[in-house]
Every structure is written in structure tokens, then in C-alpha cells.
């Protein structure tokens, strides 16, 4: 079928087209298949992953209460369904349909929401998906969204909701892909689906085919993936765990405790340096400070935007790699680099630490938490 893909036939053997061998028709068909597969399925693994221990993510309010926010990369402007799965526990007994978690996704001014009901369970799984209308492609790249979580408990029955893990992924496009141009982040370089019926015929290798395959490969190389998503948890409230030793004491700010603990593995394939597109970005949500502040991440010194103290904003920072100074984890056969906050004096003094504790918890803001980071996402190609 035209523009279809089949995951079991996506490898086209490079040695099947060398001198002295017949060109196998299957090779060209597999090139088309791998093109379509890569666009439809590529980077549809976890786009958001975070877990919570020690009853840190808990809510007893009967109203939907905002508790976390993340930045996530888009897979393309065609991937519009975001699947979300949560693991949760109800403390007390929830009755009816009153315990919920609601997610709101904002992309370039548009938004979509999904409310997932959380029935009574001590170790429940709940899932659903939201579908967002992506913006029309233009010359400006739209490549990320902002996802917000709100939680509501069955307060009337004195039950509380504890969230234990959250994941999200963009749902892969089904086969066959629709006809005509498809768009990743803009309309400057569209993706051209490949008809797999035609590539099974003779004369499959047209000039048009070759040009479009090369363009498609170059485009797909720029597709972003998530490496790290961390959001603080705020507005927690519990009537059951009134002693913070027992619960309701979440991480509210990026802190020295995250050095060496909050990390991810960034895949940098050879040839990465020659790419001229967006390659590796750290998105930070923080409370602005009037004085200069910086943090050190993956051997990059990041100067946080300075402004009138007390505003909450997201900013994007491009990261560079200093290969010589970065260690690779061993035994993966691929070039993974450990991305984390550096253990520097700058971080120890600028991040939350024993001697630098704000007197209030976000969303309350005063001068004591100006310059503190409340979310961070690392995304790259």
C-alpha cells in the first residue's frame, strides 16, 4: 500500500547495491519503508518520565490544583496524540469519579486537556490520551510543548491522591501515512512520504526518489528526543500526613542534592558536530532574580536571564559539548555522555542547599526564592 510501513522490513542492506551485484527490488522498497517508519514511529518513546517516592506528590484538595509543569519536545506537527500513564495510590477510600489528574498541553498558543479518573486503588494504573490541534506549519519552528499537571482528591470522603510515577509519549502515526507533504517543525523542509507500491516496480530509482530520500533523512536527523524531565512538585497538601517526616515534603527547587543524582545519558552520534540545526537544549523554568545567577550543567555555564525579581518564566539554553572533559559510560557501544549538574562551587552556592534555603515554598514567591529553578528539561537530537 502507498506510504505504508512495516517494522519487520525496515533494514535495507547497504551491500546489496555494490558493484557486481544485482540491485534487489526489495532494497529500494525497504528504503521507502524505513523512511515512513522513521517518520511515523521515530522518537515515540517516553517524552516525559518522572517518579515520586516518600509520598512527596500528594493532594487532599477537592479542587483541581496545579502541581507540576514540564517542557517536552514535539515529535512532529503530525503527531498530535499524547498518551499519558500514571501510577497512583489513593489514601482513604475514593468514591465515585471525584479523584482526578488533569493534564493540559500548550503548544504555540493552542492547548488541549485530558482528565484521567483515579478510582480507589493502592497501586493503580490510569491512562488516557489528549489530542491537540497542532499549529499550521510556517517558517518558524514549533518544536516543544508545555505540559501541566493538576490533581483533585475526593475531599468529601477525606481521601487523598498520591502520584507515584508519570510517563507520556507521542502516539506513533499509523500505517499508511497520509498523502502529500508532512511537517516536522516547520514548512521549510517538509517530509515526503514514500509510496511503497511504486518502489516494488522496475524503474523505482527515479531522480525524484533519490532527492526526497536524502531530504527526508536530513530532516529526521533533526528530530528531537527527551533526555531528562524534572519538575518540582508544589501546592502539596495532606491531612493524613501532617508530619513532613511521613510525607508531603517534595523537592520544590533544583538543589545541590541533584548533583550526581539527577542525570541522564545523552546519545551523541559521530557527525553531530557537523549538524547546523538545533542539537541540544536545556529548558529551565525558574523564578527570576534581579542579580546575575548561573548554573553549570554538562560542563556548560548557563547564565540565567536576569530581570525584575519574582517572575516565573521558561527559557531555552543551547548546550555545547566538551568531549574531552566529559566521560562516557562504558559498555554501551554507543557514545553516551552523562548529562548532569556539575559539582562546582558555583552550583553549590547558587542551587538550593543547607545554607541557602528559601523561607517559602513555590508558588509563594518572595525574595528568598528569587533565582531558584523549579523545572528543567533536556532535549536533543
Amino acid at each position: 500500500m502507498s506510504n505504508s510501513y512495516n517494522p519487520s522490513t525496515i533494514l535495507a542492506d547497504p551491500s546489496s547495491v555494490v558493484a557486481g551485484r544485482d540491485v534487489e527490488y526489495e532494497t529500494i522498497q525497504r528504503i521507502a519503508n524505513a523512511n515512513n517508519y522513521s517518520f511515523a514511529v521515530g522518537a515515540c518513546h517516553n517524552v516525559l518520565s518522572q517518579s515520586y517516592s516518600d509520598i512527596t506528590f500528594i493532594q487532599d484538595s477537592g479542587s483541581l490544583t496545579e502541581m507540576s509543569q514540564w517542557r517536552i519536545p514535539l515529535t512532529s506537527l503530525q503527531h498530535s496524540a499524547l498518551e499519558i500513564v500514571v501510577n497512583y495510590k489513593i489514601h482513604g477510600v475514593a468514591v465515585g469519579l471525584t479523584s482526578n489528574i488533569r493534564f493540559t498541553l500548550d503548544v504555540d498558543g493552542g492547548s488541549a486537556t485530558v482528565t484521567i479518573n483515579l478510582p480507589n486503588s493502592s497501586n493503580g494504573i490510569a491512562n488516557d490520551e489528549l489530542t491537540i490541534s497542532m499549529p499550521s506549519p510556517s517558517a518558524t519552528q514549533v518544536y516543544y510543548g508545555t505540559l501541566t499537571a493538576e490533581v483533585q482528591a475526593d475531599a468529601a470522603n477525606n481521601s487523598e491522591v498520591e502520584i507515584r510515577s508519570i510517563m507520556a509519549r507521542w502516539k506513533p502515526l499509523s500505517s499508511p501515512l497520509s498523502t502529500g507533504f508532512l511537517y516536522q517543525y516547520d514548512d521549510v523542509t517538509p517530509y515526503t512520504p514514500k509510496g511503497t507500491t511504486r518502489t516494488g516496480h522496475n524503474q523505482a530509482l527515479t531522480s525524484r526518489f533519490g532527492h526526497q530520500v536524502i531530504d527526508n533523512i536530513e530532516l529526521l536527523r533533526t528530530r528531537l528526543k527527551t533526555y531528562l524531565t524534572w519538575s518540582s512538585v508544589y501546592n502539596v497538601s495532606s491531612s493524613i500526613f501532617t508530619n513532613p517526616l511521613d510525607g508531603a515534603a517534595p523537592e520544590a527547587y533544583l538543589s545541590v542534592g541533584h548533583i550526581d543524582n539527577l542525570l541522564s545519558q545523552v546519545l551523541i552520534s559521530e557527525g553531530w558536530d557537523n549538524m547546523t540545526n538545533r542539537k541540544l537544549e536545556l529548558h529551565i523554568r525558574y523564578i527570576t532574580a534581579a542579580t546575575d545567577k548561573s548554573i553549570d550543567f554538562l560542563n556548560n555555564s548557563i547564565d540565567l536571564v536576569t530581570g525584575a525579581g519574582g517572575a516565573v518564566r521558561w527559557d531555552e539554553y543551547t548546550l555545547e559539548l566538551d568531549y574531552g572533559a566529559l566521560s562516557e559510560i562504558g559498555d554501551t557501544n554507543l557514545n553516551y555522555y552523562t548529562a548532569k549538574l556539575n559539582n562546582t562551587n558555583n552550583n553549590i552556592s547558587n542551587l538550593g542547599n543547607f545554607g541557602n534555603v528559601p523561607s517559602v515554598l513555590y508558588p509563594t514567591i518572595n525574595s528568598s526564592n528569587h533565582g531558584f529553578i523549579i523545572s528543567a528539561s533536556l532535549m536533543g537530537v
Binding site: A34, H45, L245, N333
Partner: protein, 235 residues
């Protein structure tokens, strides 16, 4: 065929113009670049930071100060256990997963009644199915592995030194893919986690699976799950 890991230089598009003699190497280069996309760049991955309590008994009320410290300030006693249920969106070609665990082990002197801590981490994979009313665990895809002090986990030997950064340890499953798919029915020594095509009649690859983790005498702080790169694959 070998799967190249790098972003190779793509052929000049003029090599595909009408009238040009299309060389096999141009098509070969496209094949290699596509295999890099499907089998390297688009390998599945999930990275779970695991939030811990920020309770701090050394600070005055209200104690929950929102600042994370290198190691937990809530005492861990021998026999401490915790569980995690994480979700991994596998790809249609996911087969083996590497898990990299960041953890904090119990100290051997924080519990005077215990001779020594014995950290242990079990990881298993469950297939999920949504028949219309949400995901449920329907089958065991891999009974999984057990990390302990005999094979991969280290024991903290000294109490946390306040003011400094953490005593953090790392452990992983390795990437040595077994010759045959594992058939164990209880956790075994660390090896990559296996995702069969199906389990109990339900699809596993290309679906969301549950990663269930039980830990004892230690606290997990971060887990990275990676599809393992296989250098040579039958086309």
C-alpha cells in the same frame, strides 16, 4: 548487516539527477543512514528521576523545606523496602533493555541492631493491555533480575558528611545480550531486561510496558532505561 552508529555524509543530491549515472554507493549510503535512524537514533529510552523527601530534621518547623540534599536525611533502617512502578514505551524493534540505577545504600552504622545492610534491587517487566477501561498488567514479559551486593551493589561505609555532595552509587544491567532469550521464572543475576514480541498472547514490543522495581536496604534516586544497540542485525 552492520548498523552504523554515525551520521554519515549523505550523497550529493546531484548524483540522483536525471541523466546522472546513479552509483551503488549513493544508494548504499542512503541505506546505511536509514539504518542509523531506525536502529540508533530512534532507539527507545526513558529516564526517571525519582523524587525523594526533603524533610530535614536539622531545620526548624515546618521541616519540609523543598531543598534536596545529597543523601536522605530520613534514617534508613535495616529492612527498609520501597517499590516503584515505571512505564516504558518500547519501540517495535525493542528487544533488550539496559537499566542504569542511581541509588543510595544504607550505612552499616545507622542501625545499631543490625550487623550490616544488604542492599537488593529486583527489576521485572510486565506486559500491559488496555481493553477499554485502562491499562492492566496482563502477563510477565521478563521475570527479570536481582542486583545485590554479591554482583553489583555497593554498601555505604560511612555516614553522610553534611554539607558535601552525595555518596551516590551506580549499578547497571550491562549490555551483554544472552545467546538465547531468558526463560527464568524468578530474578537472576544482572543481565539486560528482555522484551519478547508477545507475552501471554499480548503484544509487548511497540507497546507501553510496566517496569516493576522492588528495593531493600537502599533508596533509588534515578533510573535510565535504554534500548540496547545491536551492532549486527539480519536484514
Amino acid at each position: 548487516m552492520l548498523i552504523q552508529t554515525s551520521y554519515n555524509l549523505l550523497p550529493n543530491k546531484r548524483a540522483c539527477n536525471n541523466g546522472a549515472v546513479l552509483m551503488g554507493s549513493s544508494v548504499s549510503s542512503m541505506c546505511a543512514a536509514l539504518s542509523q535512524l531506525t536502529h540508533v537514533k530512534f532507539l527507545g529510552m526513558a529516564n526517571y528521576p525519582i523524587m525523594r523527601s526533603t524533610f530535614n530534621a536539622y531545620k526548624s518547623s515546618p521541616y519540609q523545606i523543598g531543598v534536596a540534599y545529597p543523601s536522605s536525611l530520613i534514617t534508613m533502617t535495616k529492612g527498609y523496602t520501597e517499590s516503584h512502578k515505571l512505564f516504558y514505551a518500547s519501540t517495535p524493534i525493542s528487544t533488550y533493555l539496559c537499566a542504569i540505577v542511581v541509588y543510595e545504600a544504607g550505612t552499616n552504622d545507622s542501625d545499631p541492631t543490625a550487623s550490616e545492610f544488604s542492599p537488593r534491587i529486583d527489576i521485572e517487566v510486565k506486559a500491559l493491555n488496555d481493553s477499554g477501561s485502562g491499562y492492566t498488567e496482563v502477563a510477565t514479559a521478563d521475570y527479570g533480575i536481582r542486583m545485590d551486593s554479591s554482583n553489583s551493589l555497593l554498601l555505604e561505609s560511612a555516614l553522610y558528611d553534611a554539607g558535601r555532595h552525595s555518596h551516590t552509587y551506580y549499578a547497571d544491567t550491562g549490555i551483554t545480550v544472552p545467546r538465547v532469550p531468558p526463560t527464568n521464572t524468578s530474578p537472576v543475576a544482572p543481565r539486560p531486561l528482555y522484551l519478547p514480541a508477545t507475552a501471554g498472547g499480548y503484544n509487548v514490543r511497540g507497546e507501553v510496558v510496566a517496569i516493576n522495581i522492588d528495593a531493600e536496604d537502599c533508596k533509588i534516586k534515578n533510573i535510565t532505561l535504554l534500548d540496547i544497540y545491536i551492532p549486527e542485525v539480519a536484514p
